[in-house]
């Protein structure tokens, strides 16, 4: 999380069109009230309330209604943040990926930061036929690799999307797992394999 940048707020106001100074005042006031209303506990520090451009610009109803220029800036900034593995290998172990997709722990003030975080993919996505307990906030990913193949371009897209979903779709609801340090490079490789490996339950 970066520090709040007042210039960005001005930029948002100029580009936002529909925002009025009053709206901005309320947003600033809401932020101050929130800073006073939360306390740091465990790994959940107060700087989690500092927003980057994607977070502040997407804090509107509905978040996808963000101005086109701002959306383009968000996508460009986030695309530049993606770090591909130095060894060039994007596919890990889909079995490990399945465990990561099932696990919802990590980053909560109640979680031990020593334990690895999960991706909690099933909370929002259908992914395999055998797991019937899936959410619907995101699209179904059933047959993800079967439909798209396993080319290097698809591998890079899949890895990049998990690393930073807002590089491809500004204001996406999906967490930026690599960008925000939720998952490690090895975990994102495992999830990429879960989505693309022909033997994975996703592609049965």
């Amino acid at each position: 999380m970066t520090q709040p940048r007042p210039l960005l707020l001005v930029l948002l106001f100029v580009l936002g069109g529909c925002a009025t100074p009053t709206e901005l005042d309320i947003a600033k006031q809401a932020h101050e009230v929130m800073r006073a209303s939360f306390k740091e506990t465990g790994q959940a520090t107060l700087d989690r309330l500092n927003q980057d451009l994607a977070q502040s610009a997407c804090s509107i109803p509905p978040s996808t209604s963000v101005n086109k220029e701002i959306a383009a800036t968000i996508e460009k900034e986030n695309m530049a943040s993606i770090r591909y593995p130095a060894d060039g290998k994007l596919l890990g172990d889909w079995k490990s990926g399945e465990r990561i997709a099932q696990s919802g722990v990590g980053k909560q003030f109640s979680d031990d930061p020593k334990n690895a975080s999960g991706g909690n993919c099933y909370a929002c996505h259908q992914m395999s036929k055998q797991e019937i307990s899936f959410g619907t906030i995101g699209p179904s990913l059933l047959g993800f690799g079967k439909l798209r193949g396993n080319s290097e371009a698809i591998q890079r897209y899949t890895y990049g999307k998990i690393w930073n979903a807002q590089a491809y779709s500004a204001c996406s609801n999906m967490p930026r797992f690599g960008h925000n340090g939720i998952l490690t490079e090895a975990q994102i490789k495992d999830l990429t394999a879960l989505l693309l490996d022909p033997a994975s339950p996703v592609n049965q």
């Binding site: 999380m1 309320i26 947003a27 006031q29 809401a30 932020h31 009230v33 929130m34 006073a36 209303s37 939360f38 306390k39 740091e40 506990t41 959940a44 520090t45 107060l46 989690r48 309330l49 500092n50 927003q51 994607a54 977070q55 502040s56 997407c58 804090s59 509107i60 109803p61 509905p62 978040s63 980053k107 909560q108 003030f109 109640s110 099933y122 909370a123 929002c124 259908q126 019937i132 307990s133 899936f134 959410g135 619907t136 906030i137 807002q166 609801n173 967490p175 930026r176 925000n180 340090g181 939720i182």
Partner: protein, 267 residues
Amino acid sequence: MTVFRTLAIAGLLLGYAAVTSAQSAVDEIAKYRQQLQDGNPADLWEARGEDVWKQKRGPKGVSLERCDLGLGPGVVTGAYAQLPRYFSDADRVMDLETRLVHCMVTLQGMSLADATKRPFGSGTNRSDFEALAAWITAESRGTKMNVSISHPKEAQAYRLGEKMFYFRGGPHDFACATCHGESGKRIRLQDLPNLTEKAGAQLGYTTWPAYRVSQGELRTFQWRLYDCFRQQRFPELKFTSEASIALTTFLAYNANGAAFNAPAIKR
């Protein structure tokens, strides 16, 4: 309580075993929720809450029976359906729990620290707020939600609450709206009310407090916000904080017109 919970969970597991598709799982869970309605252990919290209300407590040795929840000193029936509201004696907007703290301090003479030492209960460490909220909210069951934002401070709380509802932050970029901004969505198999629309806000707001089967505890609306923010990966929401009151004002006002229907029972 433990037996009740074990039976309920066993029932849910049996339901799982019998199903073959996501749709039938959803149907089974709807059935499970229906069956839960037959006996709500919230009764136990309600009974204790009435006792706590009437007990002489604190340094001044008086009960809460002169506490003004907005409809006059001691008037409990229907009061929750008009909360949060502006209180001129405190010159601020208060939700139920904040008002109870105010009464514990001003009427009973408790220190703020003593009054707020146990917002949420756990097993034998019981919370007076959960008991009081169970009883007081039950006294509004069937009453139409009628929250005002006509006072400038109420209007301000509503506007701040609305901003906070859409505020994205933390390592996961989550806002309240991430999960509660669209209709017909679920997390895993849990249906999510769309709190940005009348019907969803009414359904969501009027069914808290609730007895949570999975926890064996009765939980208040303050707890609901606290635990949503935990899952949003935010820092810890302070009990009766200004943000909690603002969000509650936003959500309660959006539920106006619906009959209040809690304490409820949830998985």
